[in-house]
Symmetry: C2
Subunit: 149 residues, 2 copies
DNA sequence: CAAATTTAAGTTGTGCACAATTAAGTTGTG
DNA sequence: CACAACTTAATTGTGCACAACTTAAATTTG
């Protein structure tokens, strides 16, 4: 029978612990860029597609405006982006990179390989873990919406 | 080549998203017990071994006193536990369940099976994911301590 | 077209995480 | 024994997450 502690037997704790451990590896790397991990995720999206709306960011990150609004405000205060209401739909706020924010991309390119190495998995193992996690997340989301039987 | 977004290709985002999705499934179940997910983790440890110290809780959960002290204070205020400095070493604080806290265990027994079902994995798949995550977390921790080459 | 509904973003309040610091107790060493 | 080094908790301050609510704009509908 498993000798592991009550926590180590629970896959949800493993997720929780792994997620925090990954963020901890990111932290010093991102600190050099002046970013936190959630801020880095926002910047990744903006580097790919400048000018997305707060709603679109929230959809990709699975975060609501209660989290994103203050986060974007901080990034704006740091001079990395600007928020502008879109003229065609005054409800929406489009997020645009400043030159400083756009320039940070170069320095951020080295980050992912660092993390991949730290995880101690082969590229194949990483890919497989990623696929499993995507599947689990989708199943959990489906369940959260309709916590049926 | 992969059509997935910049985020979905990153295993760390998958971890972050999966962890939050799992917590979201826990939330309504634990709300019935008057617990948050981190509080539930603490209670799991106490149900297994009453009277552990704050340091030991922190070691198991990989959390420091900056997180645990206020969390325990809230559980104490809710009447679930008591904190007592140990006589043999006045630095340590032992955490003891109250009858109410101990009694909650029965109601919490149904929780894990709910989550396992929601994750949409076979028991085998869960076990394997758990093992992979444990391995990754250990590798990440090792790297965090010594961010060498 | 006016009222009701829906959508987008922001605000407020609670509870983690975590860095940095503080305070008090214990241990080790000269 | 004295006192430096270490250990344990708690505190302070920042930044997420997330629920609940507010405000304003757009859309739907009677």
């Amino acid at each position: 029978m498993p000798e592991r502690s009550i926590l180590k037997r629970q896959v949800c704790f493993s997720l929780y612990a792994a997620s925090r451990a990954a963020t901890a590896v990111y932290r010093p790397l991102l600190q050099d860029l002046g970013l936190t991990y959630p801020q880095y995720l926002v910047m990744l999206l903006l580097w790919e597609h400048d000018g997305v709306s707060v709603r679109e960011l929230g959809e990709e990150l699975e975060l609501d405006s209660g989290t994103l609004s203050p986060l974007l405000k901080r990034l704006e205060a740091a001079g990395m982006l600007e928020r502008r209401r879109t003229p065609d739909d005054e409800r929406r706020v489009a997020v645009h990179l400043t030159p400083h924010g756009a320039g940070l991309r170069e320095k951020a390119l080295a980050v992912p390989s660092h993390i991949a190495a730290a995880a101690g998995l082969t590229p194949d193992g990483l890919e497989q873990l990623n696929a499993t996690l995507a599947k689990v997340t989708a199943a959990l989301h489906a369940h959260a919406k309709d916590p049926a039987p």
